[in-house]
């Protein structure tokens, strides 16, 4: 079935208001790997008949990497332009596919005039399952498989969301195996703080390799993430340690969409 992805502009033209805005993010819009995550989220939204919309060409970078890099001007320019658009559409609720967008929209936009209820996609999916809108019947795809969850820093430590993604893994009937450093002690994938866009400083190891080795040690077949940057870093890491034949890196949304056979 073709994806149904209405934009805010189309909805407004029809005189409709969506229940929630799906903030796709730059990775989710442009990165080939992350686009698959975006589609998985949309499949779930479509399947559950969630009345949502995207901004499409009216969406712009939240400014997160600019702020982390220390360029408050660029960040605030982005934020204020986005807030004008969001407030123009009278957006109340936002779901993001990226913890960086999630953190910025949720925590840093209110002071600039943009106050919304912002949730991460794992929280939305958790809610869909809890309210019975999404059922994982015969979820045998991942039954008994070992899955480890890599906590994205901007979801975990930054915003204390640890349980939603884990609960979803349990719903898959899979075996959740934790890495030595998890939850509050989770080790960064190496991409945060604008590192995604630059080479690392001189050291004796890449951070994503350190983290991937830890994930591989759990003997999990799947490394689950909830962040497109983490996904990139872990995927690269798995390739570097030559484990791509036995270890897959997947977003929680993809796991759920696959299990629900969407």
């Amino acid at each position: 079935m073709a994806l149904q992805v209405p934009t805010m502009a189309e909805m407004m033209a029809k005189g409709e208001t969506p229940d929630i805005l799906f903030w796709v993010g730059c990775s989710g819009s442009f990165d080939d790997r992350a686009k698959k995550i975006t589609k998985a989220i949309v499949k779930i939204l479509n399947h559950c008949n969630v009345k949502f919309a995207v901004l499409g060409a009216e969406e712009s970078c939240t400014g997160d990497p600019a702020k982390r890099a220390g360029n408050e001007f660029t960040f605030q320019m982005q934020a204020m332009m986005n807030i004008q658009v969001l407030n123009g559409y009278e957006v109340k609720r936002i779901v993001t596919g990226c913890p960086h967008c999630f953190n910025t929209l949720k925590n840093e936009y209110p002071e600039l005039g943009g106050s919304y209820e912002v949730i991460h996609h794992t929280q939305l999916i958790q809610d869909l399952i809890n309210t019975g809108k999404l059922q994982l019947e015969g979820g045998s795809t991942y039954k008994g498989k070992k899955i480890t969850f890599h906590d994205p820093c901007y979801l975990g430590r930054a915003n204390d969301v640890y349980e939603a993604p884990r609960m979803l893994i349990e719903k898959l009937d899979a075996e959740l195996v934790e890495m030595k450093r998890c939850k509050t002690n989770g080790l960064c994938c190496g991409a945060g703080g604008a590192q995604m866009f630059k080479e690392a400083e001189k050291g004796n190891k890449e951070i994503n390799i350190e983290r991937t080795e830890e994930a591989v040690e759990t003997t999990a077949e799947i490394i689950a993430t909830g962040c497109p940057f983490c996904n990139t870093m872990m995927t690269d890491g798995v390739k570097t340690v030559e484990k791509e034949a036995s270890v897959k890196v997947l977003d929680i949304a993809e796991l759920i969409a696959n299990a629900a056979e969407l």
Binding site: C61, Q76, M80, C153
Partner: protein, 437 residues
């Protein structure tokens, strides 16, 4: 009589000098920029009680936490005895509270003795951990020299302090045994006393030993107190205000720069008059931080609260993978630079400048660009220090005042400004994914 005078002079002098040092530190902290950390007193008290008093965050590593707890509880409870020492010292009494409190007095002193033994065990374990086991986070290069000596000195002082307590109570016990065949009945010294001093049969020697213990204990307390302001050990006091003024917002929320907000609003306002006079004659503040005076007072209080335990650094992904960045060093550098600048200002007036700055002379650009802003250091700190906010303010200065940053970041920022994404994709193509297979 002379003893009472000497005691009173020592007591007043010791505490007086201590308060002078604390006021200097307070003045240094107030060199920082304003920051509102008022409000929500209930959450603040709760945080302080859990994190500082309850040492909640220490217990993520149970063994050092337990050892630390013995030292901490002994330190706090032993100070009850200080009340009696002060009363005895000024009035010339011996064990002033013993007759009135009776068996409760015996209980308190016994309790203090037990804690002192536990503290001694803890201290010796800590000395061994630092010097024999050579724990990685306690032997890193930023601890070379003074910080290492400082740590050992504190532990040795603790051993000396406990030794004096038992010299005092032990000799007192032996004296009582000798003179009247009676016992103070204190849990530890009733055994330690005869063991160490039982062979001394001269009451005057025993009395002298008791006096050495008493004066030694009191002198060590004063030495310790006055050592604190010059040592990482200040955390025993600063942990309390520092946790009270903790950041209560989500860790991912970076501060909003209001000066920038005003500028950006002006830029986006079509009716703004570009030739308007600035609202005030005040020189605009620097964007971000180049020196310690550009940081907030809370950043500076953080620096004085750091006891260099290195939990931050041992959890830092950049440090783990061999990068130059160490969050602990960021805090130590901030404190050392602030002490240097504060001393200079007190000597030469408030416009003092030595041409040095935190960024450049203490912290290098390479260090701050290695940070992934993952908040592991903030999470780990047992007294809620936030090294990340200092790193971000240093980056802000570099980027906004000096346009200095790794070249790839220049490209990323240009892309955001030109096409609303950190990569070179057109904003109009943002929805293309919906129609691709």
């Amino acid at each position: 009589m002379i003893a009472n005078v000497i005691f009173t002079v020592l007591f007043l002098g010791g505490f007086g000098f201590f308060f002078i040092q604390i006021f200097k530190i307070r003045a240094n902290i107030l060199l920082g920029r304003e920051l509102d950390r008022s409000g929500d007193a209930a959450s603040r008290w709760r945080t302080m009680i859990l994190v500082a008093l309850g040492q909640k965050k220490m217990f993520t590593r149970p063994i050092p936490a337990l050892l630390h707890l013995t030292l901490y509880v002994a330190f706090v409870i032993t100070q009850i005895e200080l009340i009696e020492i002060i009363v005895d010292g000024i009035s010339g009494n011996h064990r002033f509270f013993a007759p009135t409190l009776g068996s409760f007095y015996t209980f308190i002193i016994s309790f203090i003795e037990v804690l002192s033994v536990l503290a001694l065990i803890g201290t010796i374990a800590f000395l061994a951990r630092r010097n024999l086991l050579k724990l990685p986070r306690l032997t890193m290069k930023e601890l070379a020299g003074w910080p290492k000596k400082d740590a050992n000195l504190i532990l040795i002082m603790e051993v000396v302090l406990v030794s004096f307590i038992f010299t005092m109570n032990g000799a007192d016990e032996a004296l009582l045994n000798l003179s009247s065949n009676q016992s103070n009945g204190f849990l530890i010294s009733q055994y330690v006393g005869p063991l160490f001093f039982g062979s001394v049969k001269n009451p005057e020697t025993l009395h002298l030993l008791e006096q050495i213990g008493w004066w030694g204990h009191f002198t060590m307390v004063l030495v310790f107190l006055n050592y604190l302001p010059f040592s990482k050990h200040l955390h025993i006091l600063f942990a309390f205000p520092n946790t009270y003024y903790s950041n209560l917002n989500p860790k991912g929320q970076f501060t909003n720069m209001e000066a920038v907000t005003a500028e950006v609003k002006l830029m986006m306002d079509p009716t703004a008059d570009p030739y308007a006079q600035p609202a005030s004659d005040e020189a605009p503040q620097r964007f971000g931080a180049k020196d310690v005076t550009d940081l907030t007072w809370k950043n500076l209080m953080d620096a004085y609260s750091c006891t260099e335990c290195g939990r931050c650094t041992s959890s830092c992904p950049a440090n783990i993978t061999g990068k130059l960045l160490s969050p602990r060093k960021i805090m130590m550098d901030t404190r050392d630079r602030l002490t240097e600048l504060g001393n200079g200002i007190r000597k030469n007036g408030k416009d003092f400048s030595d041409g040095k700055s935190l960024l450049g002379d203490y912290i290098s650009e390479e260090e701050i660009w290695a940070c992934t802003s993952c908040n592991a250091c903030v999470q780990e700190c047992p007294v809620n220090i936030d090294p990340l906010s200092i790193i971000v303010d240093l980056r802000r200065y570099l980027v906004m005042e000096e346009s200095k940053m790794p070249t790839e970041l220049t490209g990323m920022l240009t892309n955001i400004e030109n096409n609303g994404a950190p990569w070179q994709f057109s904003q109009n193509d943002r929805l293309n994914w919906a129609n691709e297979d």
